[in-house]
């Protein structure tokens, strides 16, 4: 049977991708960011899964205002890397896992989570920057990836509680898949940041570190945090953090092992947070 062995959480700032692609990783500014992922790159070599279920948000790339799905699962065989206006990132295309993705879609829809099924979708920095942070710059990504896009562009995004419960339904679906697959669920986005208006540049280290603490030790309690608290405390774009609760919900109910934890301010406009949790 398939099972979830670990979950990975990370911010997905576009400037991180640009720094990698332009060879700036050795600069002191960026070294402070990439240094936090050195352990992770070694860890993922030893724990490369068969499939990553990668929760991220589309940034007005695949989805314009014509269609705004709250939860969209990518069931295609492959996904092209999007041109977000600066040209496509020079990274490998994403190879999906249509069989597992379709299985998860059917399972969680029957569990009352009304997903949108997407068979054609370009993926943006929200998905590719986490892959680059963990895998560096390979010729091809070393595993299959199921993109799972969450609307955080138009308010309201799904609630933290809904995300956490969805994660649990995804875990149940994965564990009911017949093939013996090692799966990781990744939650991306955040941490505190605001990209708009006179309050742009907001960072809240206390909020972020409390979020990390509670994500590890009290995810069900954290899932009850209302949207307004994210927006007020962590910035209008800090609300991306609800996506981390999907990955956390996909972990076992028993407390996880904290394999790695990292926090740094800033990368561009954003607080960078990163966690690796393993099921015991």
């Amino acid at each position: 049977m398939a099972h979830v062995g670990a979950s990975v959480y990370t911010s997905h700032v576009p400037a991180i991708g640009a720094a990698l692609d332009l060879g700036k990783t050795g600069e002191p500014y960026w070294q402070k960011v990439f240094g936090g992922y050195e352990f992770s790159k070694q860890w993922i070599k030893r724990h490369t899964p068969d499939v990553i279920f990668l929760v991220y948000n589309d940034h007005a790339t695949a989805f314009s205002l014509e269609i705004i799905p709250t939860f969209a699962i990518g069931t295609a065989a492959e996904f092209a890397v999007a041109d977000e206006g600066w040209g496509p990132r020079p990274v490998p295309k994403v190879i999906g896992h249509p069989e597992l993705a379709s299985h998860i879609a059917q399972s969680v829809i029957q569990d009352d989570f009304d997903l949108t099924i997407v068979n054609k979708m370009d993926v943006d920095h929200g998905l590719t920057v986490p892959l680059s942070l963990m895998f560096g710059q390979p010729e091809a990504w070393p595993c299959r990836i199921i993109p799972f896009a969450v609307n955080v562009v138009q308010y309201p995004p799904p609630s933290g509680r809904r995300c956490y419960q969805l994660g649990r339904a995804i875990r149940k679906a994965i564990e009911a898949y017949d093939e013996d697959l090692e799966v990781q669920v990744w939650g991306t986005g955040g941490m505190s940041h605001q990209l708009q208006g006179p309050r742009a540049g907001l960072i809240n280290k206390e909020f972020d570190n409390a979020f990390l603490d509670r994500l590890i030790a009290d995810p069900a309690g954290l899932a009850r945090l209302p949207h307004i608290d994210y927006v007020r405390e962590a910035g209008s774009e800090g609300i991306e953090l609800v996506m981390w609760l999907i990955a956390r919900g996909a972990m076992s109910d028993a407390p996880p092992s904290v394999v790695h934890r990292f926090y740094h301010v800033p990368a561009s406009n954003t607080a960078v947070g990163h966690l690796i949790l393993e099921n015991r």
């Binding site: 314009s64 208006g197 540049g201 960072i203």
Partner: protein, 129 residues
């Protein structure tokens, strides 16, 4: 019954909700068109003519021409869409975000390196630090 909008008292912040999205639909869809290289070239060649092909308000068009991102947001723009204008201009997200704060590019970058804008005094309009 009116929708509950508990976020209207946050200073310097416009939440892109359904109402803003409706107001800014054509502005944001114009921005979306800049995802294609040939459209970026056409826009740069004649911004006014390119904008006139969209059913946007004159205020929205002028805000784009002025690159006044705060005004664009007030008129229904969303930062992820407006970022396509910045990309067309060769601007980074940090330059775009900074341009809305009244700080110079250098001041904004320094503020971020020093830990960003504090939430203290920035939670509610009229809050004392």
């Amino acid at each position: 019954m009116a929708l509950d909008k508990p976020y209207t008292d946050i200073p310097g912040t416009t939440i892109f909700d359904a109402e803003q999205s409706r107001r800014g639909y054509h502005l944001n869809q114009f921005c979306m068109s800049l995802m294609k290289a040939e459209n970026r070239a056409r826009f740069k060649a004649n911004e006014r003519a390119y904008l006139d092909a969209w059913p946007m308000s004159e205020e929205q068009k002028q805000a784009v021409l002025d690159r006044d991102l705060n005004r664009c947001i007030a008129l229904g723009g969303n930062i992820y869409f407006l970022a396509k204008i910045g990309a067309t201009d060769g601007k980074s997200f940090q330059q775009m975000a900074g341009s809305m704060t009244g700080l110079s590019e250098e001041e904004y970058r320094d503020m971020m390196v020093k830990g960003g804008r504090s939430v203290e005094g920035n939670r509610r309009i009229g809050e004392k630090r």
